[in-house]
């Protein structure tokens, strides 16, 4: 049983409303970030790619948290 398989990341983009929403959940905890700012797109896209790399990595990796905004 792989518990990390229960974590999913969901992106929801609505061009008509100009909103982008990112949700990360493991069915126990749910974190949601909603934005209408263009400057957040790059950050969310980078974060999404980082999460993808973590999922695909074989050995356990720690993520150094980049500068907080």
């Amino acid at each position: 049983m792989c518990f990390s398989c229960q974590v999913r990341v969901v992106l929801k983009y609505r061009h008509a409303d100009g909103t982008l929403c990112m949700k990360v959940t493991d069915d126990a905890v749910c974190l949601v970030y909603r934005t209408e700012q263009a400057q957040d797109v790059k950050k969310i896209e980078k974060f999404h790619s980082q999460l993808m790399r973590l999922m695909v990595a074989k050995e356990p990796r720690t993520v150094a948290v980049a500068e907080a905004d």
Partner: protein, 110 residues
């Protein structure tokens, strides 16, 4: 659910974004994938392949059409570049920050 190759998935994802531009949402889901192709039986032991540790499942939908692809560590580099470009190019409908908002932010930061 249509399972596609990475390149085709990106093409179809671009189409989804374009289709939903006037109205609608695009949902993208990312999840770790252990390579299983059969459901796990409630009773009994899990037979078959050893779970793979280096794949993830990427799904996209507009509420009606569903597409998906599997990305493994071998393709992740190449896929990620194309995928990032795609997202940045298509998610361009959000508000740019203007002077008014900058002043507001400066005030709230203080």
């Amino acid at each position: 659910m249509v399972l596609l190759e990475s390149e085709q998935f990106l093409t179809e994802l671009t189409r989804l974004f374009q289709k939903c531009r006037p109205l609608g949402s695009v949902f993208i889901t990312l999840k770790k994938y252990d390579g299983r192709t059969k459901p796990i039986p409630r009773k009994g032991s899990v037979e078959g392949l050893e779970p793979a540790e280096n794949k993830c499942l990427l799904r996209a939908t507009d509420g009606k059409k569903k597409i998906s692809t599997v990305v493994s560590s071998k393709e992740v580099n190449k896929f990620q570049m194309a995928y990032s470009n795609l997202l940045r190019a298509n998610m361009d409908g959000l508000k740019k920050r203007d002077k008014k908002n900058k002043n507001k932010k400066a005030k709230t930061a203080q």
